[in-house]
Symmetry: C2
Subunit: 553 residues, 2 copies
């Protein structure tokens, strides 16, 4: 009975954007799909990145038969190196996906211990007790796949990140026929990407984007600078083709672009006419209307190539009148202000700037509502499980499936950790496993907790005031101080001498607690804390952290 | 010659969203238009609000003849109380605008010294050497005005914040005829709101929004909760009307809504059928389908009424299945994540949620491109000056004016501080005055500078480590410490005893600098800083602030 059970166990990505990671379990075998990270949110001060809590996988590592990666984006592969510290199994992925993974592992010295196995879309892969058809899907990075996972319990279709573009420029359109064949065969459950369920209609095609870009670039008489995600290989190919048609050469700027273009070239995912590429130092030697610069920084990252151009500190590129800057990428929520600032500064330096708010030069890699409906209709699943989204996206996708005729009791709205169990009797959310977010800060993994983030917030908003004070142990006489030092806090105000007054507050506190009082040092510490807190709150309405260093010598 | 000059002097709002403030100067008289604030940006850690640097006005205060407020939004009136500390002149505004100002000044005890003078749209106001026609404009708050400022040098039209809605529900449509009459009379310069220049087409009308809201609310069988900006008086009126039609009573939640509704009611801007309003404590006594709750929190503010409902800590309202929550407001950039989190949590508690991404239940108060074109065509100005926008908005609005036929040399693209001067010979940017942003933090105005913000950022990301150490002055022997204390920083790691190791690093530093070394204390301090910095960077890749307290006793 236990054996005939199929389980779908979401580790991350169900209830959040990012951290995509899932386990499929059948007869004891565990297949891991993706191992993604998330970039920290604003309140996670000082945190570098976030990975899913993989405790469940660690505890069951002997049963893991493999890791299968759907595509090369960080929110699907970025936690792989952390998973590899605990679990050493084959990692499957398409050539470009593994190309990126290989590069990342090599950089941190983990490539030697990785068992990477290349797979091709269209083929069938056997891993443990799972037979998996790899189905090509269109997305904003090349070489993405969806999965049709066969077990005796039934066929589970996992879309990966996808959109259905019938006019992809890389020839990598979603293999709708394959999904349709799954539908004919009978799909037990469809797990589908919910990212864009709030968007009506269809994604526009990459070809249309290409036409718009061609129109802009061919009219341009100066330098053209295109900022985009380094992983947008097809877009880079489009830019190269347009540059070629317009007699322009291509320069890359930004390490991540050089890396991904290198990988894509070596694998044949990008084709560049001979002699078209030049180095950034040669840019001064050719006329303005014969160059296209492809650069990073489309999200307003402060030290990116584009940000340095916008602020005038880029070594080789000084923005000037006649330059055309194209931001061919999404404004990711949270980055709008940083991107806006760069656009403003580029305009101030005389450049013309084209961005998604004023021209259709970018398209999402995730299916809009009509495409999501098509996927449901192609696969006609018995059960529907929305994946990849915050809770509201999952809810809206669940409702969409209900509107498409899937009965409410066969739409499984689950979040991370909720185990979805299929057996002969049906499907249910059966249990809960441990999941969560691990904050990675510097070299520390998971040592940043709530209280530390709270301390950082207090420090960031009000700074601190440190008081140093030393007594003679025997006489109780003040030997040193009170010395008052602050950071992130203002001591000089129009109203006068805060430091002097703070010292008085401290001395009063000491006077009240004479040398004979038991636990004198502790009491003085507490008193200084309390009195200074009141004092600063009253005088300047701030609440710095108060740190009394009171010593007995 | 000097006397026949008209100057337009932008203090804030030209090159940024918010801080709107401008001076018009003619024959020595200065008229101030608006005094707005800005809410702090992410990097301004701990800052409460931002106001414009008003040094120019302060220096010329004897020449200021009045302050004229265009409408009641914070980005137009929020800095008035700061201006009033230096300049005591009449403040002109429409009834609702002054109602809000009166309440704000009363709260901080400044009402007594304010000379507030009510004006009506459609009338002519004489202030110093200026004759000003007040022209009604439609906006997202009632009682907004644009200005036609007459001087012998010519007529200057200032739109204020506006949109052109031909179907406003409050009857407060933009008075297009008046603007047209200005155009016939001859407009020297048009200063027009650039906020939405990136948006094609027209704003949809408030009536359409009303129809959508009516459709949603009339179908609802449970409680209806509408979150919106407290200043959206017309929208509140719509909600009340729809509630009335559906046999629902109205409850307000959130102090700012109670305040603005109170002001609007007392001035006749909002009409409420008798007995429709009930207190929040009575909500349990009436059936779910007979109540509409109007609440604050539409921007995801962490302690707002809506946020407390979403997290289940609201005293009176527990969200449950059947509740319908409508967020009738914009997702302001920077707030998306906070708003998204609230929506997710409301869904988790069983509510249905409607928000602008999935339904047309909000419209901007700022004109889209077609409306901006109409304003230019109505007024046919000789000179065009885009106002209210970041630099890119000003550029795009300037280009729009050029496309409309205004010659490039008569489109004045100016930023804060750039004085635009008109005389018989034409128009030019003649000089630069001091402007800037003043950060207000607690009771401190302007005492938070760049270096302080940088300290706060370091503290927020990496925390600090304080080392206390005391020597005997004569013998040089360590009497106390080294004691190591940290905040916002991790000391316990998997790898072991960072504190012990840090103490070793410190003791080594001391050993190297013997008792006879001159400036020993200074050298030890520097050495501890340097060595610990290297140590933490190497072991855990973090850069906390290092604070050595080294005493001689």
């Amino acid at each position: 009975m236990q054996d005939a059970m199929l389980k779908i166990i979401p580790i991350g990505g169900l209830g959040e954007i990012g951290l995509n990671m899932m386990v499929v379990e059948y007869q004891g075998d565990l297949l891991v799909i993706d191992a993604g990270l998330m970039f920290p949110e604003d309140y996670m001060l000082g945190v570098d990145l976030v990975i899913p809590d993989m405790e469940f996988i660690r505890r069951n590592k002997s049963r893991v038969v493999g890791v299968l990666l759907t595509h090369a984006h960080e929110d699907h592969i970025g936690a792989l190196s952390y998973l590899m510290r605990d679990v050493n199994v084959p990692v499957y992925g398409t050539p470009f996906t593994l190309g990126v993974v290989r590069h990342k592992l090599d950089e941190i010295g983990l490539l030697g211990q990785a068992d990477l196995r290349e797979v091709q879309p269209g083929l069938r892969l056997v891993v443990g007790k799972f037979e998996i058809d790899l189905i090509r899907v269109g997305h904003s990075v090349v070489d993405g796949i969806g999965l049709a996972i066969r077990t005796p319990m039934g066929l589970v279709v996992h879309t990966g990140d996808f959109k259905i573009s019938h006019a992809a420029i890389d020839g990598m359109t979603t293999d709708v026929n394959k999904f349709a064949r799954c539908g004919e065969e009978g799909v037990l459950a469809l797990l589908s990407d919910s990212t864009n369920v709030e968007k009506e209609g269809y994604t526009i095609s990459d070809r249309e984007i290409g036409e718009t870009l061609k129109g802009i670039i061919s009219k341009c008489r100066g330098r053209v600078i295109v900022a985009l995600f380094a992983s947008s290989i097809s877009r880079i190919q489009q830019i190269i083709d347009i540059a070629h048609q317009n007699g322009r050469q291509v320069v890359y700027n930004g390490r991540s672009i050089e890396v991904t273009v290198g990988i894509a070239k070596s694998l044949g995912y990008i084709r560049i006419p001979d002699g078209m590429e030049i180095g950034i130092d040669e840019i001064g030697n050719i006329p303005d209307d014969q160059v296209v610069l492809i650069t990073t920084g489309s999200q307003g990252e402060p030290m990116s190539a584009l940000a340095r151009m916008a602020t005038g500190i880029h070594k080789q590129i000084k923005i000037r009148y006649g330059d055309m800057v194209i931001l061919s990428s999404k404004f990711i929520p949270g980055n709008e202000k940083a991107i806006g600032k760069i656009i403003n500064n580029l305009y101030r330096r005389g450049a013309d700037v084209i961005y998604e708010k004023i021209s259709a030069i970018h398209v999402s890699g995730h299916a809009f509502r009509e495409e999501l409906k098509l996927m449901i209709n192609l696969t006609r699943p018995r059960y529907f499980i929305p994946i990849h989204g915050e809770y509201r996206h999952l809810v809206l996708h669940a409702r969409l499936a209900e509107e498409m005729g899937i009965p409410k009791n066969r739409v499984m709205l689950a979040e991370n950790g909720q185990v979805i169990e299929f057996d002969a009797g049906g499907c249910r959310i059966s249990s809960m496993i441990q999941t969560g977010r691990i904050l990675v800060d510097g070299k520390g993994i998971g040592d940043v907790g709530r209280s530390l983030l709270k301390e950082r917030r207090v420090l960031s908003e009000d700074g601190f005031v440190a008081v140093t004070l030393a007594f003679d142990e025997e006489t109780g006489i003040v030997m040193y101080g009170p010395e008052v030092i602050s950071r992130g806090f203002v001591f000089e105000t129009e109203t006068g001498h805060l430091v002097d007054d703070a010292q008085c507050v401290i001395l009063e506190a000491i006077e009240d607690i004479g040398p004979d009082v038991p636990d004198r040092i502790e009491k003085i510490r507490a008193r200084i804390k309390g009195d200074l807190r009141k004092y600063f709150n009253y005088t300047i309405k701030r609440r710095p952290l108060i740190l009394p260093f009171v010593l007995e010598i």
